[in-house]
Symmetry: C2
Subunit: 337 residues, 2 copies
């Protein structure tokens, strides 16, 4: 049904349309690409491609435009990830070296990715649930409150002030800190609830109230409410695009953290590039955008995701190359820390 030449035509249509943003006709194709056949033949192929739903006409007597299905086929079978130029690779290195802490790594990464792709970049902080506890610190603040600081092996630091403990006994705090660290340091956050279950019973009754308060905040902040921090950059790049849906809808969607999390979260294949095209995205406002995302992590442990949001009419090979490269570099940097 879809012989080699038809696929070549589809590829040419996608490439030309991405370049020019104008419906592409049979003549233009025959001129620009060495397909070795006449426009008439191309027209016949186009009819077949249109019948199968890979391309469409905005109106009679106009050229063809790829559909979501067409882009999908292009991404799956007709293109390969484009490796970065050496200039781009140097840009990555100079951009990411010299970051002093996780916040800065993430901030720089997201800017880098948006500049490389000229689109909107999204970077997720290393997931809490896939991190392990490195240290728990309890810091008395005055005589009534305690600040809890949890440091993970991925560099994330979560802090929370705990209130309503009554008068604080410093040695009790020290004891609790010691017990907590012995119980949970080194564990994955998902294992924490089980590990602290019988901790209260080991605390002398007069301090059990404090221990319970601290534990409940710990569990709440780390496990139940495992908020995923997300940063994005490059929204200005959207202004250049003219969306089928209104720009406002896209911007609104991008401001919803939950939407972004799901957007990245729906990757099918762990540790691989994922591309979601147009209506494949669950969100109304993102029907005319595509999302390219990838896992990053240390070794083969995936920590979180990064991604790029742009118009369905995007340079998939280039974008995929940039996302993959940045994901690898960020993994290296985290490993080196």
């Amino acid at each position: 049904m879809l012989d080699e030449r038809k696929l070549a035509v589809l590829r040419a249509v996608v490439e030309d349309f991405v370049n020019t943003n104008e419906p592409v006709g049979s003549k233009a194709l025959a001129d620009r690409h060495r397909l070795g056949v006449s426009p008439a033949t191309i027209r016949n192929d186009m009819v077949a491609l249109e019948e199968d739903g890979y391309i469409t006409q905005p109106h009679t007597s106009a050229g063809r435009v790829p559909t979501d299905k067409g882009y999908r086929l292009f991404v799956d079978r007709l293109s390969s990830v484009k490796p970065l130029s050496s200039a781009e690779r140097r840009a990555i290195e100079s951009f990411l070296t010299g970051a002093v802490d996780l916040d800065e790594i993430v901030a720089r990464t997201v800017r880098l990715l948006s500049q490389l792709t000229r689109q909107v970049a999204i970077v997720q902080y290393p997931s809490l649930t896939r991190s392990s506890v490195q240290h728990v610190e309890l810091i008395p603040l005055g005589t009534q409150r305690v600040m809890m600081v949890v440091i993970t092996n991925t560099g994330r630091v979560e802090q929370r002030v705990i209130d309503g403990l009554g008068e604080i006994n410093e040695t009790a705090v020290n004891d609790l800190r010691g017990m907590l660290n012995r119980a949970i340091s080194g564990l994955y956050l998902g294992e924490v609830p089980g590990a602290v279950e019988d901790l209260p019973s080991q605390v002398p009754p007069e301090h059990r109230h404090m221990a319970l308060s601290v534990l409940s905040v710990l569990l709440e902040s780390l496990v139940e409410r495992h908020e995923e921090k997300i940063v994005l950059a490059g929204t200005a790049n959207l202004a250049a695009v003219d969306f089928a849906a209104s720009l406002r809808d896209v911007l609104e969607a991008l401001e919803e953290n939950m939407v972004l999390i799901r957007l990245l979260g729906e990757a099918k294949d762990p540790s691989m590039l994922t591309v979601r095209i147009g209506a494949e995205n669950f969100h109304e406002g993102l029907r005319s955008t595509s999302v390219v995302s990838a896992d990053y992590g240390v070794g083969n442990q995936s920590l979180a995701k990064i991604g790029v949001v742009g118009p369905t009419r995007m340079d998939y090979p280039g974008t995929m190359g940039a996302v993959r490269a940045v994901a690898r570099y960020i993994g290296q940097i985290l490993a080196g820390q």
Copy 2:
């Protein structure tokens, strides 16, 4: 030169233009506002206002549009800050209560402000330089590294990993922590450098290297590199506006943290509402936007600023009311913490 009636005409022009986004003519003015004179008289006044540069015509035979100078006069003399409706006030309360930490307060505030004004909201974290040290914590991480956590009275927490200390001696860390807290807790960050000057000499020589490393990181992260954290929300509201400058330029400017900081920083009058209109903004891309900003703080100590960015054609009284109200509420919440 500018008698009462001319001012009334200017006010009416501004109000109508803000509402309709269309040049306003003498007849429409006479109809909608009870100026008590005929369109012809209004026309004469308009000529005078135009000669003085308060309004302008997009082209002959069109209505008038306020200039930056016109908006300026309107803000300074012809309008008053509009108090919030009770519904809005309730919205603020329900929005801001229940925030557990500073991050959440700031995140909620910026969303709230953007929703109230339907524009882009900017919120600055409480400035480090105007905060005081509540506690410094040193946490050994493994045997080679120490994490330093600085907690300020405004709820900001800065953390940094310190490397290259060689083998760590736990009691030495404890001693240093004690000395540090005795030396600087309670001080404003600006006073920290002076207060730690002669600290190294009090440390036993074998641990002096560690002390120096810790101090240098402390000074660098808090004082020299006093980065101002800024958050913004509501960029989607820009999509509804048609800017003279391109939307892209505006979005780009808003992604530059340094620009935002200057934008808020240029307030003339502390603890008051500041309005910068159009070309009064230093930044090219923001020539067709206005910025309404205000200080917030606890008591009469100003901690940082919040603001709103929108088209010069904005509802100044309403926006100013919202900014002022939110600034006050955030001050109360911080005071209550």
